[in-house]
Amino acid sequence: MDPKSLVGTFNKKGQKIVEPEYLLFEAPRTQHFMTGSEVVKEAIRRASIDVSIAYPITPQSEAAALVGELYVEGYVGEYFRGENEFAVMSECAGASFGGARVFTTTSGPGTLRAYENFPMWAGSRLPIVINVMVRGVNSPLSIQPDTLEIGMILETGMLIWHAETAQEFLDFLLASFIVAEEPDVHLPVAVCIDGFFVSHTKDMVMMPPADIALTPYDPYRSPVPCMDMEVPPIRMMRDPFVMKSNYISYATHASWQQEVRAACERSRKHTIRLIGGLIEEENADAEILIVSSGTAVAQGREAVRLLAEEGVDVGIVKIKTIRPFPHQEVRQALRNAKHIFVPEFNVAGWMAREIKACIPDNDRVYAGPHVAGGMTMPPEVIVEEIKKVLSGRKEAVHG
């Protein structure tokens, strides 16, 4: 059944099924003051979710439990606590293979415990949406915000989006299901937010009404057969290439990996349609730019204000989708910048590496400042770093 044909009908909770564009752009919105965890609940309430599977880990436990409340209220078809994140992500995969719209959440060590599943999800073309509320990974044990884990999932084949605010988080979640399920994409999406900073602080959110919901998932639009014994073919392969050491088996695997990456790239047009561009620019003509994703951008914006008070002109480029990486947009936005600063909440500086890899003259990129392990990044730290580096560079230039 074409989900579009359901538009205008009502689901069992009495919600009216609406086009995603209506839900995202046209529906009247009202203002609410809520945490990121509560944003998850409100997004999922409107997202026509079939299955959600949960496992506790700070800082995502509250969100995962709130989805459980939606299950009891009848908004989510099936919900349970799995035994660990590896199993949970496989349970999500089983549900998705069977034709369900699936949502789950995890964080930090949970992301890594689940890791083996992510390339499998992508390779199996399962459009699961996972909310990753990033936190430190061990050791020593930390529950604090840290974006290192995003750097670890970059090459899994999943789409990776990084929301800065509660508002963006809500809109990203709602849009992610639709982009994930497009037949020419059909891939998992990791919607990342910075743990605590977004999950636990309250923020103003403009919310569409609760009596409308997204069009449901149609598993028969999948580019690979749904595993429900309702669609041919009944036998998947005539000559299985698994374990065969020949060119065709290698080529099959290689070309499928390329196809997964191509599908990720194909998501751009849908993503641009539903969440605006892949990047956002503010005053990007300035010679000095701060470029990053997530709440590092919010801190950068404050730094821009402080620097403006001192007469220093600094612009901001925010990267919203990390996979697909907005190469062209970033190259274009950064083309005139002389100094590019990449503040990050992790010790590795993976975002700076991504940026360096895609622009010419990449000695313009300064990888930092970095904080890690839950440290905050006061705007003053960014200001100081920018000043220090610029004065150092001037010295280097003027001898």
Partner: protein, 299 residues
Amino acid sequence: MGKEKIKINDEFYDIMPPEYQELVEEATYGKESRGWKDVGEAKELIEEHSLCAGCPESIAFRYVLACLPKPEDTVMVGSTGCTSLVFPHVAVHNIHSLFGNQNAIASGLKRTLALRFPEKVKDVVVLAGDGATVDIGLDMTLQSWFRQEKFTTICFDNELYANTGGQESGLMQKGFVGKMAPAGKKFDKVPLPEIARNSGCHYVAVMTVSKPNRVEKAIRNAILVAREIGPTYIQLYTPCILEIGKQMMEGLQEMRDSEGPGKRFEFKEYVSDEAKVFLDEMDAERKRKKKALRAARAK
């Protein structure tokens, strides 16, 4: 899914592989009395396989597939191992995803199929090796039983990791010298059937595949009980002739030698009280039907 759904479009008929044409025309989807005796008579749901010649896994696979009570509405879940060489040839939807996660996949799948098809029976059957079931996937095997997930778990027990070359597994016999057990395995074969019983399985059976009638009955019981009541477990001895140094004709004898009284694979069956009531009712119903049929014929 009935045969009408898999019918081949006339225009494309001649370019479809002949084995696929045969599946559509002659396979036993929808036949209520299907069973192991169809092997060799009707089109099987398994095509050629790439197991070692004479590997007992191959006949075990044929029996299992021939005995599925409702293949047209069954989805199977496999795992990495020798069985994963066969699944791509199997003509029911089946999922291979990772090594050891089969009972987790099946949990999500079964619940989803129950949600999506409330009016229909959709059976989920896991079929995986002993390494997958007992070692790397043990937590998921047990947790699915604790949670009373309604699907059947079948373990092809060859007492070692065959696909990676004969390493020690939890179901290997104590003292057996294998790879990674260079001085002989130090601990007993894990008593998974007993654990299954204590973990909430409603039907548990252990046997070799030397007696197809017995395999047929166990498979049917396990799947029907899983459908109606809760988790079920079947452990089948499918010796890895390659790793235990047997010739390709010797698999059957190896199984017969291992199933006598007191042997590792002596036939064992456990049925919970609830499952017993259900199976007895089913038996009585079948007898009633048979009698009625005979009476009708006699007239």
